[in-house]
């Protein structure tokens, strides 16, 4: 951390600060038992006990491959899914216990941006109606104030006001995502959960949307939970990054530490798996190609769930589940043999 850093506001740095959102022991199991008469019920452990804190003003990136539970986590935070176990505490209030009108009011503070801009907008509503919907739902604006607010929001996300009477299908993916962002911003939320907001977009458009989100975060003092399937997408926008694998967080630290010194072998695998857009290094660069497939979350491996693919796994990893511990300041890892000081070296603790 450079000194310059301390001068600029750095919300997440101080652990003394109250987190805006705190997740404790969160679990979501889906019943996937087939047939009525099976004695043993089968569960898909989409999220299997995670703890996270999100501090005001920061961006927490959540990264992982398919089946790791990152999207389920996002849906749990905005209460689109009910948690099986655990607590989601937002400004001191446990969201999992809220319902009815109280929950409806709370939703104003926590908004979501969806992955697919093609399916997340009702095809039969015009842009104006789409952006006005949250305002009408909570009756925050009416009449002239409503249309003023809608046009203001359109301006904020970089959509020309002339688009107001058009339908979503007339827009490209990037423009639709802007509409989605305007909707999410309409109620002045404190927390924005972005569920892979750029993965469905063209490369040249992705950075437009990322830049926009970053600008809006500063402008409106937003706290972001940014979910992505790969590290490149969260690289720019995140202050801290949580890496998930099979329903658990395996590593959580600042962006800098994660990229410079990943401690979990899975994180290292994820990092080096990203193709480097430079043909010069293609034969020389170090790379850890993780073997095998991602196991099914219905039947996760025993012990450390990563042991089936880990290059360093031994008997201990097969039997004991590693604890998620702060091995270094601000650096949480769940691994028996965390990597230390560069790639591929094992340090036994």
């Amino acid at each position: 951390m450079s000194d310059k850093k301390v001068e600029t506001k750095e919300p997440h740095k101080s652990n003394t600060q109250e987190p805006l959102l705190e997740i404790r022991g969160l679990k979501k199991h889906f019943d996937v038992t087939e047939g009525w008469f099976k004695k043993k019920r089968e569960y898909l452990r989409a999220v299997d006990g995670i703890d996270l804190k999100v501090y005001p003003g920061e961006t927490l990136g959540i990264v992982g491959e398919s089946g790791c539970g990152k999207s389920t986590t996002g849906n749990l935070i905005v209460r689109l899914l009910e948690a099986t176990e655990g607590e989601i505490i937002f400004e001191g209030e446990n969201l999992t216990e809220l319902d009815g009108e109280k929950l409806r009011q709370k939703r104003k503070d926590i908004q979501m941006i969806f992955q697919d801009p093609f399916s997340s907008l009702n095809p039969r509503m015009r842009v104006f109606e789409l952006i006005a919907e949250p305002l009408r739902t909570h009756q925050t604006h009416k009449g002239k104030a409503l249309s003023e607010r809608v046009y203001e929001l359109m301006d904020v996300v970089g959509l020309s006001a002339e688009f107001a009477q058009r339908f979503p299908h007339e827009f490209s993916g990037g423009q639709r995502q802007r509409i989605g962002i305007a909707r999410a911003l309409a109620l002045n939320p404190k927390l924005l959960v972005c569920d892979e907001p750029v993965s469905a977009l063209d490369v040249s458009i992705q950075s437009q949307i990322l830049n926009l989100l970053k600008r809006l975060q500063e402008q409106f003092n937003l706290t972001l939970v940014f979910i992505a399937h790969g590290l490149p997408a969260v690289k720019h926008i995140s202050d801290r990054i949580a890496v998930m694998y099979l329903g658990k967080v395996v590593e959580l630290t600042t962006r800098e530490k994660l990229f410079a010194n990943p401690m979990h072998p899975y994180t290292e695998g994820l990092l080096t798996a990203v193709p480097v857009p430079d043909p010069e290094v293609r034969d020389t660069r170090e790379r850890v190609v993780l073997k095998g497939d991602i196991p099914s979350p219905v039947n996760p491996p025993s012990g450390c769930s990563f042991h089936t693919r880990c290059p360093f796994a031994d008997e201990k990893c097969k039997q004991d589940t590693p604890a998620f511990e702060e091995l270094k300041p601000d650096h949480f890892v769940a691994c028996h043999y965390p990597l230390e000081g560069g790639k591929g070296t094992i340090q036994r603790s």
């Binding site: 491959e65 398919s66 490209s172 993916g173 990037g174 423009q175 063209d202 490369v203 040249s204 458009i205 992705q206 950075s207 437009q208 990322l210 830049n211 970053k214 399937h229 790969g230 590290l231 490149p232 997408a233 690289k235 720019h236 962006r255 800098e256 990229f259 410079a260 695998g269 994820l270 990092l271 080096t272 798996a273 990203v274 193709p275 480097v276 857009p277 430079d278 043909p279 010069e280 293609r282 790379r287 190609v289 993780l290 073997k291 497939d293 991602i294 693919r309």
Partner: protein
């Protein structure tokens, strides 16, 4: 002009889609060559026409679409004039294709082995037992563990990565001269993508199959290919060998694409984007198709369409910035302001 080494020569290919709302020129005068055993990437975003180009080569353009002009010379055969029946002999035998979504390209009601064996039996003159042996052999070669077990399983029981391996095995089973891979790793997770890329690299070394890789991911391109063709709005805008292209991109679009591709090792790079959106065929800009998004657009670009010009080392660029005459004119114009052009 004909090169001994040349496998495929696409010249001035035009594939149009005739929809209710008018004609959509998805591929508008595309020309390129592929040599034997060469790895070529066609790069572009959605709507660039890269996929339609590959489907045209395979003769798989679906109904409202039609090849309306140009030649596709494969060895000495012009595929553009081939009927569906003639194409069936070429497909799978000489040219094979792998698709983005491996689940939909495998028939769910037959076992992996059954489909692989059928593919071999159809194109090669061998008996069933040999075909089975060849299939299991192929599966082992693409890195599938317990290949004999997988041989008897159904597509849905395999993971996405495994299915893509099966597709690769199937497409390579008849030793095609050309393999077209349409976004083969896009639907896969990053760590699985890395596995498939490794596999493709290995296979390329072993076989002398030429590959056309269709992708939007410049990272994948840099890992794998020899030569790159960049497409934008139905046209080729730049063509170069991979090293030169990444070191010194000429076309502003290529440059923008490279800049907006995230580089994982560089933590503090700036996020650069190309402004605006990809034009739809209904509102294709006049002049250079990239000019509304181009940071270097000049007056000349708005009204004049550039041609694909050959530069040093066989490199090709479609941009007025590299036309001496136009640039001289522009310089003069900015020299004495106010002088109207023409």
């Amino acid at each position: 002009m004909k090169d001994e080494n040349q496998l495929l020569n696409v010249s001035n290919l035009q594939t149009h889609f005739f929809t209710e709302n008018g004609t959509v020129p998805s591929v508008d005068g595309v020309s390129f060559q592929v040599n034997k055993g060469e790895l070529v990437a066609i790069v572009g975003e959605s709507g660039s026409g890269k996929s339609v180009t590959s489907l045209s080569i395979m003769g798989l353009v679906e109904d409202p679409g039609k090849i309306v002009g140009g030649d596709i010379m494969f060895e000495d055969k012009n595929l553009a004039t081939y009927t569906n029946k003639q194409m069936r002999k070429i497909r799978g035998n000489d040219i094979a294709m792998i698709f983005q979504e491996p689940l939909t390209s495998l028939n769910p009601v037959f076992t992996i082995g059954n489909q692989l064996r059928e593919a071999i039996l159809q194109h090669q003159n061998v008996d069933k037992a040999t075909a089975k042996k060849m299939s299991i052999d192929m599966l082992t070669q693409v890195g599938i563990p317990r290949a004999d077990k997988v041989y008897n399983s159904f597509p849905h029981s395999l993971s996405g990565g495994m299915r893509q391996r099966v597709m690769i095995a199937m497409s390579l089973s008849c030793n095609p001269k050309l393999l077209i891979a349409d976004e083969p790793t896009t639907a896969l997770d990053v760590t699985i993508q890395a596995q498939i890329l490794e596999l493709m690299k290995d296979l390329v070394k072993k076989m002398d199959t030429a590959i056309i890789l269709i992708t939007h991911d410049l990272g994948v391109v840099a890992e794998l290919v020899d030569r790159v063709i960049v497409m934008y709005a139905g046209q080729v805008v730049e063509q170069s060998d991979v090293f030169t292209l990444f070191k010194d991109p000429k076309h502003p679009y290529t440059k923008g694409l490279l800049d907006s591709t995230p580089k994982i090792q560089d933590l503090n790079e700036e996020l650069i984007s190309i402004k605006g959106t990809v034009p739809t065929p209904a509102n294709m800009p006049e002049g250079c198709r990239f000019h509304p998004r181009c940071p270097h657009a000049m007056d000349h670009c708005i009204s004049h369409e550039p041609q694909l010009e050959t530069m040093e080392n066989g490199r090709e660029v479609r941009c007025w910035l590299f036309d001496e005459e136009v640039m001289e004119h522009e310089r003069q114009k900015s020299g004495n302001e106010g002088t109207p052009q023409k």
